[in-house]
Symmetry: C2
Subunit: 83 residues, 2 copies
DNA sequence: CGTGTAAGGAATTCTGACACG
DNA sequence: CGTGTAAGGAATTCTGACACG
């Protein structure tokens, strides 16, 4: 389910995290919710999974910069250039 | 996906129907969204599908009472008593 | 019956900032 | 760095009612 349908409040319930934390992950460019015409964020179930993974990694000691690096290195290894 | 995560605005976008129509289906007991602590409705993807089916049937000439009857007869045929 | 609408209020979300560390 | 919070405003949703038919 990749459709962006959830408000931040629902994501908080699903993840147990605060709005602040979720918005911070976005600020660090780790998640990319859509926006309604009025400017409200909309998240997908994939986003929720990603958020949970981010939180898990952070509890293991990674910071957001490192997580960003990890994501990008994964992307590179999967890109056509590397095949 | 049976989790109730969507606000009525998202359901409107997904179905192309108005808030009024969607709330009316609930009034006629054809759908059963959950509520947040504050009283806001939350719908699942299953609800969206059901809403689309209801709208389809209504365009075919059924009224909400008949649709309610249809649902109940389906339930009865599937109930243990009828096996 | 099914749906549009204006009305007023309440719940939800937004941003930018200050704070701590 | 990551997160809590109070502040003020804006978007979203709620209910009950009137309207048409």
């Amino acid at each position: 389910m990749e459709s962006k349908v959830m408000s931040i409040g629902v994501v908080c319930e699903l993840t147990g995290l605060s709005e602040r934390q979720i918005r911070y992950y976005e600020e660090r460019k780790l998640i990319f919710p859509e926006r309604t015409k009025g400017g409200n964020r909309r998240y997908s179930f994939e986003d929720v999974t990603t958020i949970q993974e981010i939180h898990q990694k952070m509890q293991e000691g990674f910071n957001t910069y490192e997580l960003k690096q990890l994501k990008q290195s994964k992307k590179q290894r999967c890109s056509p250039i590397f095949r």
